[in-house]
């Protein structure tokens, strides 16, 4: 360990995170004003594409990038390859995502130009991470998961670029197959594998767990990746048995991961978990339940696109976004504490990381997120536009309060 410097430069991760919070609130607002399209299950609609891309690219991807600039040095004991390159990548990606998302909403035929810029930004990011990870000392299940996530990220943008190319110039058959592959590589490949990977470092660290075997990490990885490949295959081949089989492998892979996390938490030394961390771990249960639902829905060959669209919506919100929202309350205080207090520890009294956040408020925010999501689901089930708008409004306001409470950490 001696000689390895944990990269605690905060400017780059914080830049990503602050932009991501703006995109988060923007995306929720877009969903709010398009509540009627959501009610009708019209997810393939320009304004919804705009909201979805602000949410997934503007928020989730930007958070993932910012977090990786902080977590990769921590988890793999290797410094970031080139910080200056990281800032160039940041600006290229931000401009690309904003242009892509807005154009998807107002003029999809021009989205290709934002898409190209976004692809350049993402390629720069993956190059940066691969150069950084190349210096890692050992191959572990965690490195497999993170590398597979990066590969899925590349495939996601390749599929996404093909879609925007089709909007602009046409000429590609199988638009729907490309779209489904784009979604699967993005949400199940990139985000899920990344959360799996970093959970193996973060969960023991935040719960102070010791002695967990993590023996299911590799089987979980192989099962999930195999399931994902089968799922992609099912979009291209019209064989009805492939999709239920793919969901079965995805479910087993996710279940093995969940069992590992359960074992880690059982062996924890810290009885009372922080509320944000607790919220992030609860998201694992959400993810598992959604996988169970997806398996049974595919098993009974229910092909209703509205049901699948809502399932994807819940997968994104209750698993991916909730995981991110929970971990962000741990990551940002750490970044800011390091910036402000790292040189003062031992010289004077400094706050603990827990004192950097208002945990009580975070608890309320997380409860309201669940209430809003539950309300949205019920409103859609009973086809009530008024209550859907009401719960989307709660989600939007709560998202804004969440973003402000994260920003408030920077004033501690």
């Amino acid at each position: 360990m001696s000689g390895i410097k944990s990269d605690t430069a905060i400017k780059l991760p914080i830049s990503f995170i602050l932009c991501a919070l703006v995109a988060f609130v923007t995306s929720l607002f877009i969903l709010l004003v398009n509540s009627q399209e959501l009610l009708a299950g019209q997810f393939r609609f320009p304004e919804i594409w705009m909201g979805a891309h602000f949410l997934l690219l503007g928020f989730a991807v930007m958070i993932a990038m910012g977090a990786m600039y902080q977590l990769v040095p921590v988890a793999f004991l290797t410094p970031i390859w080139n910080q200056s390159f990281g800032f160039v990548q940041f600006y290229v990606t931000v401009v690309g995502i904003i242009f892509l998302s807005i154009m998807l909403g107002i003029n999809p035929s021009l989205a290709i130009y934002g898409g190209i810029l976004t692809v350049i930004g993402i390629l720069m990011f993956t190059f940066q991470m691969l150069k950084t990870l190349a210096k890692r000392k050992e191959n572990t299940a965690m490195s497999h998961l993170v590398l597979a996530a990066i590969l899925c990220f590349l495939l996601t943008i390749l599929a996404g670029l093909s879609l925007t190319w089709n909007f602009a110039f046409g000429g590609m058959a199988n638009h729907s197959s490309i779209l489904y592959s784009h979604i699967a590589f993005g949400v199940a490949g990139w985000f899920t594998l990344l959360i799996f990977g970093f959970s193996y470092k973060l969960v023991p660290m935040f719960s102070l767990s010791h002695g967990a075997s993590m023996k299911r990490a590799k089987p979980s990885f192989y099962m999930y990746v195999f399931g994902l490949l089968l799922l992609i295959l099912s979009f291209w081949l019209n064989q009805s048995f492939i999709q239920p089989l793919s969901w079965l492998f995805l479910l087993i892979g996710f279940g093995l991961f969940a069992l590992d996390i359960k074992e880690i938490l059982t062996k924890r030394l810290r009885r009372k978990l922080d509320k944000p961390f607790h919220f992030a771990t609860l998201a694992i249960i959400n993810g598992w339940v959604i996988h169970v639902a997806a398996f049974f829905i595919s098993l009974f060959h229910i092909d209703d696109p509205v049901i699948w669209s809502w399932l994807i919506f819940l997968y994104i919100f209750c698993w991916i976004i909730f995981s991110i929202l929970g971990y962000l309350f741990k990551i940002v205080p750490f970044l800011w504490w390091t910036h402000k207090y790292a040189e003062r520890i031992g010289k004077e009294s400094v706050p603990t990381l827990k004192e950097m956040i208002n945990e009580k408020v975070s608890g309320y925010l997380f409860i309201v997120f669940y209430v809003a999501l539950f309300g949205i689901l019920i409103s859609t089930s009973i086809q009530s536009g008024v209550t859907l708008f009401f719960f989307l409004a709660i989600l939007t306001v709560n998202g804004l309060l969440y973003a402000l409470s994260i920003v408030a950490v920077l004033f501690k």
């Binding site: 360990m1 001696s2 410097k5 944990s6 605690t8 902080q70 040095p73 921590v74 988890a75 793999f76 004991l77 470092k201 023991p204 660290m205 935040f206 102070l208 010791h210 002695g211 030394l269 810290r270 009885r271 750490f334 504490w337 390091t338 207090y341 790292a342 040189e343 520890i345 031992g346 010289k347 400094v350 706050p351 603990t352 990381l353 827990k354």
Partner: protein, 96 residues
């Protein structure tokens, strides 16, 4: 002088856990020679702990405040690795 250094290290708090590094069992050894050169051997709860630079700085800053201290040599080691049995009863109670 050994006792003075150990007492000082009780003031260095792990910011994530809110417990001092001595009760956490992170300090493996303190050696002070006749010229008051201090050698501290310590570990962290996990390799790659993101707070390792901060905790190292905290140890150096706090020990430097002791009157008469000459040099400080801080050795961060991973063998033997930290485990919960190294924690004091007080630390366990604080966590549980």
């Amino acid at each position: 002088m050994n006792d003075l250094v150990q007492d000082a290290l009780y003031d260095v708090i792990d910011p994530e856990l809110g417990i001092n590094i001595v009760d956490l069992g992170l300090v493996y050894g303190i050696d002070v020679d006749e010229d008051n050169n201090v050698r501290i051997t310590m570990t962290l709860t996990t390799p790659g702990c993101p707070l390792h630079e901060s905790i190292e700085n905290g140890v150096k800053h706090r020990v430097r405040e002791i009157e008469g201290i000459n040099t400080i040599d801080l050795q961060l080691v991973w063998e033997p690795s930290w485990d919960p049995t190294k924690m004091s009863l007080k630390a366990r109670k604080m966590l549980w």
